[in-house]
Amino acid sequence: MKDANQQLGHAHSSIPHDSAIKHVTGRADYTDDLPEPQGLIHAYLGLSQCAHGKITGMDFTDTLASPGVLGVMTAADLPGVNDVAPTGKNDDPVFADGEVRYWGQPVFAVLAETRDQARRAAHKARIDYDVLPHALDPIEARDAGMGYVTEPLTLKRGDAAAGLAAAPNRISGRMRIGGQDHFYLEGQIAMALPGEDDEVTIHVSTQHPTEVQHMVAHVLGVPASAVVVNVRRMGGGFGGKETQMNLFACVAAVAAKRLGRAVKLRPDRDDDMTATGKRHDFVVDYEVGFDDQGRILAVSGDWYARCGFSADLSGAVTDRALFHADNAYFYPDVELRSHPMRTNTVSNTAFRGFGGPQGVIVAERIVEQIAYRLGLDPLQVRRANLYRNGQLTPYHQEVTDQILPRILDELEASSDYHARRQAVLDWNARGGVIRKGIALTPVKFGISFTATHFNQAGALIHIYTDGSIHLNHGGTEMGQGLNTKVAQVVAEAFQVDLSRIKITKTTTEKVPNTSATAASSGTDLNAMAALNAAEQIRARLVEFVARTREVAPADVRFEAGHVIAGADVIPFAEVIEAAYLDRIHLSAAGYYRTPDIHWDRKTGRGRPFYYYAYGAAVSEVSVDTLTGEYVIDRSDVLHDVGRSLNPAIDKGQVEGAFVQGAGWLTSEELWWDDKGRLRTHAPSTYKIPLASDRPRIFNVKLAEWSENAERTIKGSKAVGEPPFMLPISVFEAINMAVASVSPTGQPALLDAPATPERVLMAIERLRR
């Protein structure tokens, strides 16, 4: 048996995920797998059956009479504040109080001996409503005067109106971009254990333990110091567990304190998908002016987002949509406006890319339209508009690390883009039922939380007297391999084998005031903090060894499990034991904050991003013009992760993001009925990609020559989100295949997702 942990730990090597053995043997514990405390009881949520209405009555007679039921909790039973709003807006109730604002909003919870009993009893409650009008769509909401959930943003540079007026060519359009359910395989779950006095401990599947801690404290009305939040791992997060688990943790915690018993809350998949936020749908109205060579001169656009009933993270999400509305292109005169619309739907939230994809795809739509208008290969238009170093983004950040020209050169060559595009054109020229499309799209993605204060992290390292190392940091493991990467950095710092390092669960007890593991920042922040902790201990060890071995500190080196001091080669464990006896402090708290970033939202100016990650993809598709079905024939990806800490893990992130992004743009469709009820709320109706949906040929490469120009952890770049936008190449290729049926050369202008239905309907429209 080959054990991952037997390999030497070094940065920049392809070491398997630290939990790989546990994953494949079923021994990796997720929250629902933890041993249950004696007397554990279960909570289950009761959800609203109305998209908007006043609650006129709640009858729990049958619920309370059900077997095993211990009680019901409503808004009135919360000891603290009925609010889990992550941004302090006080607009996100745990339980609807008096009014429900979307179909599926939690109204109450049932507590029972078993989950099955609680679930069955929850369905027996009768809630009566005085039904009010509802609006689901952002434009509908705008027209109904629903207003914003949070302050909108305008990014402006130059004079867009004048630029548009002066441009030789102009196009305007509207694009509808669908949302996306996270479909983390492990659903939301929390288990709360009551402690002494005001204390409570919570095991929860969360990307943001500190926020859970604050929310639980808030809802219980106790200080944050009374609440401990633990997370060993998540079965996927993707942004869906950045704020959305707050409610589940709070309900479990309140119930646990109320009953003095451990309480677990796990919704079923349907309730999870109904009652938790998703990627924002957008409707975007845009106008672009351009010259006859396809150079963009001015862009003006309005991004209307379906935010749901409350703000949640919609402010930052809609901001990021604008930050990425240029994708990789310089807009000389530009004005971009966000409209975070309040709607009677679940409150939308973070999802990999965080609004960025809904900005980027519009930039690519603009390029597509310019290319069709001018009869150019869209790639020519893309190249003509790429940022050059020194140019300013719409938020006035100077681009200084542009590497897309090289990425495009290499990818064009390796994918044989030009010959294949010609072959596709020739294929389509023959007519026929199956049409093809090919597109090469770039991505430029800004790295850092745009809320500057989140760009900080902590870590804690203990070395025990046997030389074993306990590593803890504020990030959470959701499959992205964060723990492995951080451990690699620490192993390298001490030059020890990875097996010496124990990566422990994330807990608010060890590293306080953490940021969400989000914005692709997990490794950038936490590995730096861990390195800082390791360096503190290492400095003490160097001082100790130099002193006791009588060598200069510069002559003390860590190498392959040993410390070398002049001529002495001492095993690491021996050094540690000796250091302990010499009373050297073998524990350190590390800390890191991203330098050089600032952002003034009021003026729309600053340097919100520490650096950019780049990438590009070429995708070719075949489309069946009789049914609208399609296949991704081939995708080639060249993606920039700087100097990769772990190429295998990074490549896995790129491939996974690609397929997830392709799902967003193809088969994943959120569909509400006219009552405002989401009808695609389980895998039977909501279709994420299968193995057979991934590109038939899938060549993914990392740009091995890239190294981050900024001082990041060992020259690496963030990887979680940027590749999510690579499959816009698939979407654009589908658009090309569809457009080929137009006798007059019209672009397809598909809305997203390009379901077979949308594809076929566009084909039928273009043929006429």
Binding site: D268, G431, F658, P683, A691
Partner: protein, 487 residues
Amino acid sequence: MEHQMRFLLNGSEVALTEVGPADTLLDYLRLTRRLTGTKEGCAEGDCGACTVLVGRLTPDGLIYEPVNACIRFLASVHGCHVVTIEGMSAPGGGLHAIQQAMIDHHGSQCGFCTPGIVMSLYGLWMADPDAGPARIETALQGNLCRCTGYEPIIKAAVAAMDAGGQTADRLAVERDRVAQQLRAMWGQRVTLEKQGQQAIIPADSADLAKVLAEYPGARMIAGATDVGLWVTKFLRDISPAVFIGHLMKDIEITDTASGREIRLGAGVTYTEALPLIARHLPAAREYWLRIGGWQVRNMGTIGGNIANGSPIGDTPPLLIALGARIVLRRGDNRREIAIEDFFIDYGKQDRAADEFVETIVIPVDENAQLAAYKISKRRESDISSVAAGFAITVDGGMITDARIAFGGMAGVPKRATGAEAALRGQPFAEAAFDAAARAVADDFTPLSDMRASAEYRATVAANLFRRFWLERSEPGLPVRLDQAVGA
């Protein structure tokens, strides 16, 4: 009659007396046995995180198949061998070749889908050691992974196939002994009770007829791929429930004047029927592999697909086009009806409460040109927006008969009578199919829902007539995606 169910769970025998009809295998594993390697992802048989292997006796011996533990009722594993991720290892006790390959190829990220994927691959590795990437994808149709994009999983699976070692695998080495143990569990009717809820496992088909007489209105459960959701999603009461998944497995093929007649026992699963479909109805093979995922095909039965009367069942459009008949049995009385007559209206079938579908009779007319089409939002493991079966007979250049049935277009699977009439008696030429494409608009008034709009359904239905013609007239240009990809 016995009052306890018996089965093997990994290495040990289990005997249970208190089992309710709605108890799922997954809850038993996770809650009662604390075997938490098997995960709940969706509780509706669509994500595969709960995949386990179930070994069952067949005339060909003991076979192991991946199934969804979430919608598999505990009572239905009586006399079976349940193998979970905890029961999987290399012969020496270390990591199995599949597990090792998954690590080597970085096939897990969050790891939550991983045990289910490993179990599906284990089932494939045993059943089809030469499986290549295409077959591996088919085996994983019922397993969702949200992290990896599947690429490393496919690579791992290919490596595991290459690694081999099947004959030394513990499930191979111990197969005869296990089969013997399982055989000893069968022979009598088993009745189980828990909190007044009853589950009955008849000894054989004759016993089933008796059970239905004794328990009028009892719920029959074969593969549970639909009834499982009544429990896990709708919390419905299904007592008393009769478990029939092990019954009516007979397959008979006889030659007739115009071809063959296939008689399928109602309990034949999609997987069990596949070789037969591939051989005798090759035009329907691809369609067949788009019914559910592998786990669902291993559980779901053709009889169940018909008997539950769904307007979107996958087999009825094809079977109606083929002119299939079904045999309904009540006690010792049998009647045979055309399958299309079974579907009276939405939610209403021609079946008495104590009557059951026993046999499906499929005539294979060698002179008919057959096609089966399924249109869905996602190509595989999805419920159809539109499904269609076409059987067209041409004689001397003239269309002499046309049987065309659609699913997803009405409250029941239904023939396109107007379109059929437009074809019948016409020359086998484009004009006839164009006319039929126009005529089918009057045959159906489809609905709009989350799967498709009425407009899309109607457009696709018409286009399928064009497709049928093009597939037979224009061999120069590809008319199907599978002919064009990579071209």
